[in-house]
């Protein structure tokens, strides 16, 4: 009898764990499939340039403004190349930033300091650092690559009347400031609508809302506004994208250190 019970227990245990593994795998599989579809639908845009205005609000409501221009070049089979130039605040006007992003290898980044005319290669380990003192981290601005995360499908849910998948993203690259993110991805359009970020302790850190989506080149959805609220500090950042221009004929030569020095 003893043996029978033990066998039953073992079978039950095995069954459960097999079911567990199976269930997890499906959630993982489904999450990955959603990410792959999202990435696939946003492929082939070539190059894009736009202006960004940022409004940084502290807990008391005081607002500080930033503005910059950003150009991005899509690289097949690797992360994108981007070149940003800051316009506001005026003391950093002309400072420019060149980034060659990669999926899991560290990004290559250079900063141009206009007063000294100096190009500095900088470490890309500061992924969780604030972008221009805002609530947006460097890693939030990085190009999306499948290998950067592991995925877990959670549920389907409506967000403001729009049908969404809710998927957990676990960062696989080094130096992320997050244990995971929870993203609401539009079920038909495969574009992110909202993301919750959980800090290294696993606590809810901030929420990013995308709004004002417009379709470009009949295919690519781009949000006009990112709004980030930090739940732990009460600070917020609104980032507005303006003047999206796709396929203006940018090429690799517009993303070199010489181009960085010429950027205005």
């Amino acid at each position: 009898m003893n043996i029978f019970y033990k066998a039953c227990a073992l079978i039950l245990f095995l069954n459960l764990s097999v079911a567990d593994v199976f269930a997890n795998k499906t959630a993982e599989q489904k999450g990955l499939e959603i990410a792959i579809e999202m990435e696939k639908r946003d492929r082939g845009w070539g190059d894009v340039s736009s202006s960004i205005s940022m409004y940084l609000k502290n807990r008391k409501g005081a607002v500080s403004e930033r503005s910059l221009e950003i150009k991005t070049l899509e690289i097949e089979g690797d992360g994108d190349k981007s070149l940003s130039v800051f316009h506001e605040p005026r003391d950093v006007k002309g400072t420019a930033f060149l980034s060659f992003s990669h999926a899991l290898k560290p990004d290559q980044q250079w900063l141009f300091l206009p007063a000294l005319k100096r190009v500095k290669r900088i470490s890309s380990s500061n992924k969780s650092g604030p972008f221009l003192g805002s609530e947006i981290a460097f890693e939030d601005m990085a190009s999306f690559e499948i290998e950067k995360f592991k995925y877990e499908f959670l549920r389907e849910e409506e967000l403001d009347g729009e049908p969404c998948y809710v998927v957990k993203f676990y960062p696989q690259y080094k130096h992320s400031g997050y244990t995971h993110q929870e993203a609401w991805i539009h079920k038909n359009e495969y574009r992110p609508e909202k993301t919750d970020f959980y800090d290294r302790k696993g606590d809810l850190l901030k929420t990013l809302r995308f709004s004002g989506y417009q379709k470009y080149l009949d295919k690519f959805w781009r949000a006009d506004s990112f709004e980030v609220v930090n739940h732990q500090t009460g600070k917020s950042t609104q980032l507005l994208w303006k003047n999206y221009v796709f396929n203006s004929g940018l090429s690799e030569k517009d993303f070199t250190q010489n181009a960085l020095k010429r950027a205005r």
Binding site: D91, L116, G177, R264
Partner: protein
């Protein structure tokens, strides 16, 4: 050398001094006037920016406050397609104590034409080469504006023709430098000039062409995964003058700057691995008296996101070595530099850098500094600087400015 100076017709020398003095002061005022006229009459196509700076320096040795005012406006124009551009940057300062520091300069007046992978520039420009922080060995194109700041980071505009090409095998820059800029030294009344000041009014050259000697330079740089590599070659007038001690018309001891002809080969390497920046710069120089080499090697390591917060803390360590026989020409012949950089990454962009340099040959020689800055509102920035020098060794050039400890408070307005 003193003997030869006796034969120098002293009335011509006096005239030249007066003329140069007049020129330096009035060119500063004239530039300030042009700045105002220019900025009000420019077409809207021009992109404008710049700053006004009010600085107050306190020198501990003679317990004096020296106020000073400066302006650095910039204009930029580019053709619609962006293939032609013109960049202008002027600079002018009024200093209440040092007439030599009241000066003006065209920092940049450069027209650039870009065509495919090629870039052609002509005019007055500024170029920076190198990777290290405590010393800039390979950086040689622009002359140092030593009167502007004691750390040598400020440079004078350099007339140049430049051709650049960006290829898959790297970037190559070729320079022709048709006119030499003499180093600007602080005046005798400025504690940073030291007990025996360099004169700005009488320079000697090895080349008969004097400042019209045409210098040439070549710079190659490339990056391969973790590495950024620069190779440089320069042939022409030494930016770093040798000193000829003499007496001026009033019988006071002064130093005449002597600019010899040199050739210099340089290399810079930076490896960027995770939060480590490993840096090396080295030169080999042949001047009128000897051949020598110098090296700066070190690292910078940054602790990012301390306690999962926004703050970064970086540490720098660099070692400087220079084997020239005349040790008095370099204060970085066997010196260690350590520094700490504190960056809270706040909205006001607060930055704090602490540095300390120690001479391993002359035990009593040190240099310590603090540089702190913070933006106030959107348009202002406040900067606090302190520099403390100490030297007990007469062979160390640092001895000359041992009594020049200062604190400065600067308010900048940006537009």
């Amino acid at each position: 050398m003193q003997a030869s100076n006796r034969f120098y017709p002293s009335f011509i020398f006096t005239l030249r001094c007066l003329f140069k003095l007049f020129l330096s002061r009035w060119s500063a005022y004239l530039t300030l006037a042009i700045i105002w006229l220019f900025s009000s009459s420019l077409h809207a196509d021009w992109d404008q920016q710049g700053n006004f700076t009010f600085e107050n320096r306190y020198f501990t040795s003679d317990d004096t406050y020296v106020p000073s005012f400066a302006s650095e406006p910039q204009w930029y124009w580019s053709s619609k397609a962006g293939s032609t551009e013109l960049a202008m940057r002027l600079f002018a300062r009024y200093d209440d104590n040092d007439d030599e520091r009241t000066h003006a300069d065209i920092r940049e007046f450069l027209i650039t034409r870009t065509s495919g992978n090629w870039e052609f520039s002509a005019g007055v420009g500024k170029v920076f080469w190198g990777v290290t922080e405590s010393n800039h060995l390979i950086d040689i194109i622009n002359q140092t504006d030593l009167v502007e700041s004691a750390d040598g980071e400020q440079k004078l505009g350099q007339p140049m023709l430049k051709i650049t090409t960006a290829q898959s095998w790297g970037n190559l820059d070729f320079f022709v430098l048709p006119y030499f800029r003499e180093r600007l030294f602080p005046g005798q009344e400025n504690p940073l000039a030291g007990p025996i000041a360099f004169t700005n009014d009488d320079s000697r050259f090895e080349s008969g062409a004097e400042e019209k000697h045409v210098d040439v330079a070549l710079y190659y740089n490339q990056f391969i995964s973790y590495f950024d590599i620069g190779l440089s070659y320069f042939e022409g007038t030494n930016r770093e003058p040798k000193a000829i001690p003499t007496v001026d018309v009033n019988g006071e001891a002064i130093l005449l700057p002597f600019y010899d002809q040199i050739s210099q080969t340089g290399i810079s390497v930076q490896a960027t691995i995770e939060a480590w920046l490993l840096k090396l710069e080295s030169i080999y120089r042949e001047d009128s008296l000897e051949a020598f080499s110098a090296v700066t090697v070190g690292f910078e390591y940054t602790f990012y996101a301390i306690n999962d917060g926004p703050t970064d803390l970086g540490f720098l360590v660099e070692y400087n070595y220079d084997n020239r026989a005349r040790a008095t020409e370099s204060s970085l012949q066997n010196d260690v530099f350590i520094g700490a950089r504190f960056t809270p990454n706040d909205v006001q962009n607060t930055e704090l850098l602490l540095g300390y340099a120690h001479d391993l040959d002359y035990d009593g020689s040190h240099l310590a500094f603090i540089e702190a800055s913070r933006r106030l509102g959107d348009r202002f920035k406040v900067i606090v600087d302190a520099r403390l020098f100490e030297s007990k060794a007469i062979e160390d050039p640092l001895t000359f400015i041992e009594n020049a400890d200062y604190f400065s408070l600067t308010l900048e307005y940006y537009y």
